[in-house]
């Protein structure tokens, strides 16, 4: 049977792919933020698998990756908090939550090159 490490490692790979799909295709920023968290948890799961494989010296897992994971989870939360705050403010200010470039296009494409007077 497949080992726990490999099982969850493959699971992590799948989660990262899933999250990437969600990030690319879902237009709503909140769903993108959710997709981020899925990717992030996939990356963390992979790191955890690596820690689990590194058991030894009387410890059930390599403590260095596990410690870094705790830092990573906290950093991911603060990133989510900032992104959510930004999204909510955007919504409060403009009434829409769209990220689309058309809504903020740098130049009005409609401006034609009319003959100058």
């Amino acid at each position: 049977m497949i080992t726990a490490a490999n099982l969850f490692g493959l699971c992590a790979a799948a989660l990262i792919g899933l999250g990437l799909f969600g990030l690319i295709t879902n237009p709503h920023p909140l769903r993108k933020i959710l997709a981020f968290n899925i990717i992030g948890s996939g990356v963390f799961l992979l790191f955890g698998v690596i820690a689990y494989r590194g058991a030894g010296a009387g410890m059930a897992a390599d403590p260095v990756p596990q410690a870094l994971l705790i830092t990573g989870i906290v950093v991911a939360f603060s990133a989510t908090a900032l992104a959510v705050a930004l999204l909510l403010r955007l919504h409060d200010e403009t009434g829409s939550a769209s990220l689309s470039a058309e809504a903020t296009d740098t130049e009005s494409r409609a401006e034609q090159d009319t003959p100058s007077s």
């Binding site: 981020f36 590194g54 403009t94 401006e111 100058s116």
Partner: protein, 577 residues
């Protein structure tokens, strides 16, 4: 390893952070003063670490907590770090001088949001950058990247308008995607080698599926954060929408952080894993950035957007050095002349771009708008500002003795030696494209206005001086670099050969501006609708469409993943073939 001399490295990182903490507590009334003290102290620390480095003639190391890697974390300063720290410190000081009056503490002593936040964010960016330059551990670098993103994003939407909030969100999301890809690569490296220390990894990493995947993912993630074309989705609106003092920070400084990490990764962690063909891809993206960025810059109607697209173009220059840094057999990257050129280019760009954004900001503040077509008479009304802009442009074009000139020279030599003639074409042609949008703006400001120019606000002398000083720094940067680089590389700027090539560049640029800019910028394009414009005009529009396509979220993210795949393939192919 932990002597007092190297303690400067720790201080270089912590002083700005302490400034942020102090500023947070002391409040809006005192934050500007706190920033001033921090900048002065930080400058001293950076200069002293530069001295220590030069004296010891080898990289400085500091073991944090007295624990050596792989258990602990080390700070390391080599020539690359020290040079970048110096450049950044100078630019930070210049930006602070520029923003001194813009973000002054309110007269009534009541804390206001924007000035308070600006100084905190400036110091935050500085500290994060120093951490990026000095950290020797991949995970600490991840934290540094996040610090940099958290400090840079709020600058974009500092004015609180809807469009800037949208640009900021797009920036944040794309930057976070980049960080995650970077972290994924770092995780894989730990899984394969059991350490995240750069020096240790350098001895351990071998080509293989994990190394290739990690290299591709980390590179692409960092490229997204550096906004290298076509992953520049977030840059133009973000940099154009930020207040000028913020755009200077974003363009000149923040993107250097992720660029620096690409350099560290390729040169120090994986020199044997990255292949010549993958480096060619990197530089090809750079060349495309120069081409598309410059042409779209020419098509802009607003000055700040023009400068933002010029950043897109200039970022391309930063990546031209990679294929030129391989050793004779084309197998391994070496720290040689090409890397020096890269650092020179980065410093030259940082100073010149900061100066350029500052000048654009002053024009915007004084006129109330920044429409290029309506800038007539500004040269007469704001001579120092226009001078700053022109000098910055000359510096970016590569006029002797600017940093860009020396960088180009070094790269041209390397291209000649390694027989990669195509980069010679890119290097020479790129200058003309830079000249293009410079000519566009300068012609516009030197026109005589039909009605006298009315200035809403007099630009502060300090701000103008800051803009001009940074631009001049960039123009004279080659002289500062004379130490490590042979002096005979800098020829006399007034010698006929140099003057002629400068003239050629300017004329080439003028032609591009004439052909590609919009009609409404009547100054240059007002000449009648000859067939040159009829051919080149639609070409300009094509490039604009390319830019717009790449700036859509779905296309950009698809491109992100495709490039990762391309990089992986080129690294595998390079080893086998």
């Amino acid at each position: 390893m932990t002597e007092l001399g190297s303690l400067a490295l720790v201080l270089a990182v912590l002083l700005p952070f302490l400034g942020v903490l102090a500023g947070l507590v002391l409040g809006g009334r005192n934050v500007r003063a706190v920033a001033l003290i921090t900048i002065l102290a930080g400058l001293a620390v950076v200069v002293s670490s530069a001295f220590s480095f030069v004296q010891s003639a080898q990289p400085l190391t500091y073991l944090l907590g007295a624990w050596a890697p792989p258990l602990g974390i080390a700070l390391r300063a080599d020539g690359l770090s020290v040079a970048m720290m110096l450049a950044v410190a100078v630019v930070v000081a210049g930006i602070a001088a520029y923003a001194w009056s813009d973000f002054a503490p309110p007269a009534d002593g009541v804390e206001k949001r924007a000035p308070f936040m600006y100084w905190l964010l400036l110091l935050a960016v500085w500290g994060s950058l120093n951490l990026v330059f000095l950290s020797g551990d991949l995970f600490t670098l991840y934290v540094a990247l996040e610090l940099l993103t958290f400090s840079g994003v709020p600058l974009v939407c500092l004015d609180g308008r809807g469009e800037t909030l949208r640009s900021a969100l797009r920036y944040l999301l794309f930057a976070l995607a980049g960080s995650l890809l970077y972290l994924l690569g770092a995780v894989l490296l730990y899984g394969a080698y059991g350490t995240l220390d750069i020096a240790l990894l350098a001895g351990l990493v071998r080509p293989g599926p994990i190394a290739w995947t990690a290299a591709a993912l980390m590179t692409v993630g960092l490229l997204a954060k550096t906004a290298l074309f076509p992953l520049h989705i977030w840059l133009p609106p973000a940099h154009a929408g930020a207040p000028a003092a913020g755009s200077a920070i974003l363009s000149a400084l923040v993107i250097k952080g992720s660029w620096f990490l690409v350099v560290r990764l390729w040169f120090d962690v994986m020199p044997g894993v990255v292949t010549l063909s993958s480096a060619q891809l990197l530089a090809a993206m750079g060349a495309l950035a120069i081409l598309v960025g410059s042409i779209v810059a020419l098509r802009q109607q607003r000055l700040k957007l023009l400068v933002a697209y010029s950043t897109v173009a200039q970022i391309g220059y930063l990546f031209l050095m990679f294929p030129l840094a391989f050793d004779a057999s084309g197998a391994i990257l070496i720290n040689g002349a090409a890397l020096d050129a890269g650092v020179l280019q980065a410093s030259a760009h940082a100073t010149a771009k900061a100066g350029m954004f500052m000048a654009a900001g002053l024009i915007y503040a004084s006129l109330g708008h920044d429409r290029i077509a309506d800038l007539a008479g500004v040269a007469r009304a704001m001579p120092i500002t226009v001078l700053a802009f022109a000098v910055a442009g000359l510096a970016l074009m590569g006029v002797v003795p600017s940093g860009a000139y020396l960088a180009k020279k070094l790269l041209l030599d390397a291209a000649g030696e390694s027989g990669q003639w195509w980069w010679t074409v890119v290097l020479q042609g790129g200058a003309a494209f830079t000249a293009g949008y410079m000519v566009l703006v300068l012609v516009s400001v030197f026109r005589r206005p039909s009605v006298p120019v009315v200035l809403l606000k007099r630009a502060s002398r300090l701000s103008e001086a800051a803009a001009l000083s940074l631009a001049v720094c960039s123009l004279l940067l080659a002289l500062a670099a004379l130490g490590p680089v042979p002096g005979d590389l800098i020829s006399n700027p007034l010698a006929p050969k140099e003057l002629l090539s400068t003239l050629a560049v300017v004329v080439g640029g003028g032609l591009l501006a004439f052909g590609l800019s919009r009609r409404s910028l009547s100054a240059v394009a007002a000449a009648d609708d000859g067939y040159v414009r009829r051919i080149m005009g639609p070409a300009g529009a094509v490039f604009e469409r390319m830019d717009e396509f790449a700036r859509r979220w779905t296309s950009a993210s698809v491109l992100l993943l495709s490039l990762a795949g391309l990089f992986t393939w080129l690294m595998i192919k390079g080893v086998a073939g």
